[in-house]
Protein backbone atom coordinates (compact mmCIF):
# COMPACT_ATOMS: atom_id res chain seq x y z
CA UNK A 1 0.00 0.00 0.00
CA UNK A 2 2.77 2.40 0.96
CA UNK A 3 4.68 1.23 -2.11
CA UNK A 4 1.68 1.98 -4.32
CA UNK A 5 1.39 5.49 -2.89
CA UNK A 6 5.11 6.15 -3.44
CA UNK A 7 4.83 4.98 -7.03
CA UNK A 8 1.82 7.22 -7.63
CA UNK A 9 3.60 10.13 -5.97
CA UNK A 10 6.69 9.70 -8.18
CA UNK A 11 4.48 9.53 -11.25
CA UNK A 12 2.56 12.65 -10.21
CA UNK A 13 5.81 14.45 -9.40
CA UNK A 14 7.08 13.64 -12.89
CA UNK A 15 3.82 14.84 -14.47
CA UNK A 16 3.86 18.11 -12.53
CA UNK A 17 7.52 18.91 -13.15
CA UNK A 18 7.02 18.04 -16.81
CA UNK A 19 3.96 20.29 -17.08
CA UNK A 20 5.74 23.16 -15.30
CA UNK A 21 8.49 22.99 -17.88
CA UNK A 22 11.33 22.84 -15.34
CA UNK A 23 12.81 19.69 -16.91
CA UNK A 24 15.13 19.65 -19.93
CA UNK A 25 13.19 19.10 -23.15
CA UNK A 26 15.48 16.17 -24.02
CA UNK A 27 13.60 14.03 -21.48
CA UNK A 28 10.45 14.19 -23.63
CA UNK A 29 11.72 11.77 -26.28
CA UNK A 30 12.15 8.87 -23.87
CA UNK A 31 15.81 8.10 -24.68
CA UNK A 32 16.87 8.03 -21.04
CA UNK A 33 13.76 6.04 -20.14
CA UNK A 34 14.88 3.33 -22.54
CA UNK A 35 18.26 2.92 -20.83
CA UNK A 36 16.60 2.77 -17.43
CA UNK A 37 14.20 0.15 -18.82
CA UNK A 38 17.09 -2.21 -19.58
CA UNK A 39 18.45 -1.73 -16.09
CA UNK A 40 15.01 -2.41 -14.67
CA UNK A 41 14.48 -5.62 -16.66
CA UNK A 42 17.87 -6.93 -15.65
CA UNK A 43 17.10 -6.30 -11.98
CA UNK A 44 13.64 -7.91 -12.29
CA UNK A 45 15.41 -10.99 -13.65
CA UNK A 46 18.01 -11.02 -10.86
CA UNK A 47 15.21 -10.74 -8.35
CA UNK A 48 13.35 -13.74 -9.77
CA UNK A 49 16.47 -15.88 -10.28
CA UNK A 50 17.97 -15.03 -6.90
CA UNK A 51 14.86 -15.83 -4.87
CA UNK A 52 16.07 -18.46 -2.35
CA UNK A 53 12.49 -19.72 -1.94
CA UNK A 54 12.10 -20.37 -5.67
CA UNK A 55 12.73 -24.11 -5.46
CA UNK A 56 10.91 -24.57 -2.20
CA UNK A 57 7.82 -22.74 -3.44
CA UNK A 58 7.63 -24.75 -6.65
CA UNK A 59 8.95 -28.04 -5.32
CA UNK A 60 6.18 -29.38 -3.11
CA UNK A 61 2.89 -28.15 -4.41
CA UNK A 62 -0.25 -29.55 -6.00
CA UNK A 63 0.49 -29.12 -9.72
CA UNK A 64 -3.18 -28.31 -10.25
CA UNK A 65 -2.52 -24.96 -8.55
CA UNK A 66 -0.56 -23.94 -11.65
CA UNK A 67 -3.94 -23.68 -13.38
CA UNK A 68 -4.95 -20.76 -11.17
CA UNK A 69 -2.58 -18.16 -12.70
CA UNK A 70 -3.47 -19.50 -16.15
CA UNK A 71 -7.16 -19.04 -15.39
CA UNK A 72 -6.47 -15.57 -14.01
CA UNK A 73 -4.52 -14.50 -17.10
CA UNK A 74 -6.93 -16.03 -19.63
CA UNK A 75 -9.99 -14.68 -17.84
CA UNK A 76 -8.44 -11.22 -17.76
CA UNK A 77 -7.50 -11.29 -21.43
CA UNK A 78 -10.87 -12.70 -22.57
CA UNK A 79 -12.90 -9.92 -20.97
CA UNK A 80 -10.32 -7.19 -21.68
CA UNK A 81 -10.50 -8.09 -25.39
CA UNK A 82 -14.21 -7.20 -25.24
CA UNK A 83 -13.27 -3.67 -24.16
CA UNK A 84 -12.18 -3.02 -27.74
CA UNK A 85 -15.85 -3.30 -28.72
CA UNK A 86 -16.78 -0.52 -26.28
CA UNK A 87 -13.77 1.71 -26.97
CA UNK A 88 -13.51 1.83 -30.75
CA UNK A 89 -10.36 3.92 -30.55
CA UNK A 90 -8.32 0.89 -29.46
CA UNK A 91 -7.73 -2.35 -31.32
CA UNK A 92 -7.79 -5.80 -29.72
CA UNK A 93 -3.99 -5.90 -29.46
CA UNK A 94 -4.00 -2.54 -27.62
CA UNK A 95 -6.61 -3.78 -25.15
CA UNK A 96 -4.82 -7.08 -24.59
CA UNK A 97 -1.54 -5.24 -23.95
CA UNK A 98 -3.26 -3.22 -21.20
CA UNK A 99 -4.99 -6.31 -19.78
CA UNK A 100 -1.84 -8.42 -19.66
CA UNK A 101 -0.37 -5.94 -17.18
CA UNK A 102 -2.10 -8.16 -14.55
CA UNK A 103 -1.83 -5.43 -11.93
CA UNK A 104 1.90 -4.91 -12.52
CA UNK A 105 1.29 -1.29 -13.44
CA UNK A 106 4.82 0.05 -13.53
CA UNK A 107 6.32 -2.51 -15.83
CA UNK A 108 3.33 -2.80 -18.16
CA UNK A 109 2.99 0.94 -18.71
CA UNK A 110 6.71 1.34 -19.32
CA UNK A 111 6.75 -1.50 -21.85
CA UNK A 112 3.70 -0.14 -23.65
CA UNK A 113 5.09 3.38 -23.94
CA UNK A 114 8.27 1.95 -25.47
CA UNK A 115 6.93 -0.79 -27.72
CA UNK A 116 3.53 0.37 -28.86
CA UNK A 117 5.05 3.44 -30.54
CA UNK A 118 5.75 1.51 -33.71
CA UNK A 119 2.09 0.57 -34.18
CA UNK A 120 0.35 3.61 -32.69
CA UNK A 121 2.79 6.49 -32.90
CA UNK A 122 4.25 8.26 -29.87
CA UNK A 123 1.11 10.19 -28.93
CA UNK A 124 -1.33 7.28 -28.74
CA UNK A 125 1.31 5.00 -27.21
CA UNK A 126 1.75 7.51 -24.37
CA UNK A 127 -2.02 7.63 -23.92
CA UNK A 128 -2.33 3.83 -23.87
CA UNK A 129 0.53 3.50 -21.39
CA UNK A 130 -1.15 6.00 -19.06
CA UNK A 131 -4.36 3.95 -19.31
CA UNK A 132 -2.36 0.81 -18.51
CA UNK A 133 -0.74 2.47 -15.50
CA UNK A 134 -4.02 3.71 -14.03
CA UNK A 135 -6.09 0.60 -14.78
CA UNK A 136 -3.52 -1.69 -13.18
CA UNK A 137 -3.27 0.60 -10.14
CA UNK A 138 -7.08 0.51 -9.87
CA UNK A 139 -6.97 -3.27 -10.06
CA UNK A 140 -4.47 -3.49 -7.21
CA UNK A 141 -6.38 -1.01 -5.06
CA UNK A 142 -9.64 -2.87 -5.69
CA UNK A 143 -8.06 -6.17 -4.65
CA UNK A 144 -6.68 -4.63 -1.47
CA UNK A 145 -10.07 -3.24 -0.55
CA UNK A 146 -12.43 -5.93 -1.83
CA UNK A 147 -10.59 -9.21 -1.08
CA UNK A 148 -12.75 -10.15 1.95
CA UNK A 149 -15.88 -9.62 -0.14
CA UNK A 150 -14.46 -11.55 -3.12
CA UNK A 151 -13.48 -14.53 -0.95
CA UNK A 152 -16.89 -14.67 0.74
CA UNK A 153 -18.87 -14.32 -2.44
CA UNK A 154 -16.76 -16.10 -5.07
CA UNK A 155 -14.52 -18.52 -3.17
CA UNK A 156 -10.92 -18.44 -1.90
CA UNK A 157 -9.38 -18.28 -5.36
CA UNK A 158 -11.13 -15.05 -6.32
CA UNK A 159 -8.87 -12.60 -4.42
CA UNK A 160 -5.78 -14.38 -5.79
CA UNK A 161 -7.08 -14.16 -9.35
CA UNK A 162 -8.05 -10.53 -8.95
CA UNK A 163 -4.63 -9.69 -7.48
CA UNK A 164 -2.82 -11.05 -10.55
CA UNK A 165 0.89 -10.35 -10.32
CA UNK A 166 0.51 -8.58 -6.99
CA UNK A 167 -0.65 -11.81 -5.26
CA UNK A 168 2.89 -12.54 -4.07
CA UNK A 169 3.72 -9.17 -2.56
CA UNK A 170 1.42 -6.19 -2.12
CA UNK A 171 -1.83 -8.15 -2.00
CA UNK A 172 -0.50 -11.21 -0.16
CA UNK A 173 -1.38 -10.15 3.40
CA UNK A 174 -4.96 -9.30 2.56
CA UNK A 175 -5.35 -12.51 0.52
CA UNK A 176 -4.22 -14.62 3.49
CA UNK A 177 -6.64 -12.81 5.73
CA UNK A 178 -9.54 -13.28 3.29
CA UNK A 179 -8.95 -16.75 1.83
CA UNK A 180 -7.06 -18.30 4.76
CA UNK A 181 -3.40 -19.07 5.49
CA UNK A 182 -3.59 -22.40 3.66
CA UNK A 183 -3.70 -20.45 0.40
CA UNK A 184 -0.15 -19.08 0.80
CA UNK A 185 1.37 -21.40 -1.81
CA UNK A 186 -1.50 -20.79 -4.24
CA UNK A 187 -1.09 -17.02 -3.90
CA UNK A 188 2.69 -16.97 -4.24
CA UNK A 189 2.73 -19.37 -7.21
CA UNK A 190 0.00 -17.43 -8.93
CA UNK A 191 1.80 -14.14 -8.28
CA UNK A 192 5.16 -15.41 -9.54
CA UNK A 193 3.71 -16.86 -12.73
CA UNK A 194 1.57 -13.78 -13.46
CA UNK A 195 4.62 -11.62 -12.73
CA UNK A 196 6.66 -13.59 -15.20
CA UNK A 197 3.91 -13.44 -17.82
CA UNK A 198 3.71 -9.63 -17.75
CA UNK A 199 6.89 -8.77 -19.73
CA UNK A 200 6.31 -11.69 -22.09
CA UNK A 201 2.64 -11.01 -22.86
CA UNK A 202 2.79 -7.21 -22.87
CA UNK A 203 5.67 -7.16 -25.32
CA UNK A 204 4.00 -9.87 -27.42
CA UNK A 205 0.75 -7.91 -27.76
CA UNK A 206 2.70 -4.72 -28.41
CA UNK A 207 4.42 -6.41 -31.33
CA UNK A 208 1.11 -7.22 -33.03
CA UNK A 209 -0.05 -4.77 -35.71
Amino acid sequence: MKGTLTVLAMFALGCISGALGILPQSLADGGLAKIVLYLLMFLVGVNIGGNPELKKIFGSVDPKLLLLPLASVFGTLAVTALVSLVLPGWGIADCLAVGSGMGYYSLSSILISEYRQMALGAQLAAELSTIALLSNVFRELFTLVASPFLARKFGPFAPIASAGATAMDVSLPVILRSSGDSFLAAAVISGVICDFSVPLLVSFFCSLP
Binding site: M10, F11, L13, G14, C15, I16, S17, G18, A19, L20, Q25, A28, G30, L32, A33, L37, Y38, L40, F42, L43, G45, V46, N47, G49, G50, N51, P52, K64, A71, S72, G75, T76, L77, A78, V79, T80, L82, G99, L107, I110, S113, Q123, A126, E127, T130, I131, L134, S135, F138, R139, L150, F154, G155, A158, A161, S162, G164, P199, S203, C206
Partner: protein, 91 residues
Protein backbone atom coordinates in the same frame (compact mmCIF):
# COMPACT_ATOMS: atom_id res chain seq x y z
CA UNK B 1 12.06 -5.85 -27.55
CA UNK B 2 13.89 -9.13 -28.00
CA UNK B 3 16.89 -7.54 -26.29
CA UNK B 4 14.81 -6.41 -23.32
CA UNK B 5 13.60 -9.96 -22.70
CA UNK B 6 17.11 -11.26 -23.24
CA UNK B 7 18.28 -8.76 -20.62
CA UNK B 8 15.69 -10.12 -18.20
CA UNK B 9 16.71 -13.74 -18.76
CA UNK B 10 20.37 -12.75 -18.33
CA UNK B 11 19.27 -11.29 -15.00
CA UNK B 12 17.50 -14.53 -14.02
CA UNK B 13 20.68 -16.46 -14.78
CA UNK B 14 22.90 -14.03 -12.88
CA UNK B 15 20.53 -14.01 -9.92
CA UNK B 16 20.38 -17.79 -9.87
CA UNK B 17 24.14 -18.22 -10.11
CA UNK B 18 24.88 -15.61 -7.46
CA UNK B 19 22.08 -16.71 -5.17
CA UNK B 20 22.90 -15.97 -1.56
CA UNK B 21 25.34 -13.18 -2.43
CA UNK B 22 24.18 -10.22 -0.42
CA UNK B 23 23.62 -7.64 -3.20
CA UNK B 24 21.33 -10.14 -4.98
CA UNK B 25 19.12 -10.18 -1.90
CA UNK B 26 18.80 -6.42 -2.26
CA UNK B 27 17.65 -6.64 -5.89
CA UNK B 28 14.01 -6.33 -4.84
CA UNK B 29 14.74 -2.94 -3.27
CA UNK B 30 16.77 -1.93 -6.32
CA UNK B 31 13.80 -2.83 -8.54
CA UNK B 32 11.57 -0.50 -6.51
CA UNK B 33 14.08 2.34 -6.72
CA UNK B 34 14.54 1.99 -10.47
CA UNK B 35 10.76 1.80 -10.92
CA UNK B 36 10.46 5.13 -9.10
CA UNK B 37 12.99 6.73 -11.45
CA UNK B 38 11.27 5.15 -14.43
CA UNK B 39 7.83 6.37 -13.41
CA UNK B 40 9.15 9.85 -12.74
CA UNK B 41 10.48 9.88 -16.31
CA UNK B 42 7.20 8.47 -17.64
CA UNK B 43 5.28 11.14 -15.73
CA UNK B 44 7.62 13.81 -17.08
CA UNK B 45 6.98 12.64 -20.64
CA UNK B 46 3.24 12.86 -20.05
CA UNK B 47 3.52 16.22 -18.29
CA UNK B 48 5.43 17.71 -21.21
CA UNK B 49 2.75 16.41 -23.56
CA UNK B 50 0.04 19.10 -23.67
CA UNK B 51 -2.33 17.04 -25.79
CA UNK B 52 -2.25 14.12 -23.37
CA UNK B 53 -2.82 16.38 -20.35
CA UNK B 54 -6.00 17.72 -21.93
CA UNK B 55 -7.50 14.21 -22.25
CA UNK B 56 -6.65 13.03 -18.73
CA UNK B 57 -10.26 12.59 -17.54
CA UNK B 58 -11.20 10.44 -20.51
CA UNK B 59 -8.07 8.38 -19.87
CA UNK B 60 -9.11 7.83 -16.25
CA UNK B 61 -12.54 6.56 -17.28
CA UNK B 62 -11.08 4.18 -19.85
CA UNK B 63 -8.65 2.92 -17.20
CA UNK B 64 -11.58 2.17 -14.87
CA UNK B 65 -13.25 0.19 -17.64
CA UNK B 66 -10.09 -1.84 -18.24
CA UNK B 67 -9.67 -2.51 -14.52
CA UNK B 68 -13.28 -3.71 -14.20
CA UNK B 69 -12.87 -5.97 -17.23
CA UNK B 70 -9.66 -7.54 -15.91
CA UNK B 71 -11.10 -8.11 -12.44
CA UNK B 72 -14.37 -9.62 -13.74
CA UNK B 73 -12.60 -11.91 -16.18
CA UNK B 74 -10.07 -13.23 -13.68
CA UNK B 75 -12.64 -13.72 -10.91
CA UNK B 76 -15.07 -15.58 -13.22
CA UNK B 77 -12.26 -17.84 -14.41
CA UNK B 78 -11.17 -18.54 -10.82
CA UNK B 79 -14.71 -19.50 -9.81
CA UNK B 80 -14.98 -21.92 -12.73
CA UNK B 81 -11.60 -23.43 -11.88
CA UNK B 82 -12.45 -23.83 -8.21
CA UNK B 83 -15.76 -25.52 -8.97
CA UNK B 84 -14.24 -27.82 -11.58
CA UNK B 85 -11.14 -29.02 -9.78
CA UNK B 86 -10.98 -28.18 -6.14
CA UNK B 87 -14.38 -28.11 -4.52
CA UNK B 88 -14.74 -31.90 -4.23
CA UNK B 89 -11.61 -32.15 -2.14
CA UNK B 90 -12.91 -29.64 0.38
CA UNK B 91 -16.21 -31.43 0.90
Amino acid sequence: MFYVLLTMFAGVLVGWLLKGWKPVGLSGKAVSAVIWVMLFLLGAEIGMNRELLRSLSSIGLQALLFAAAGICGSVIASVLLYRLLFRKKAE
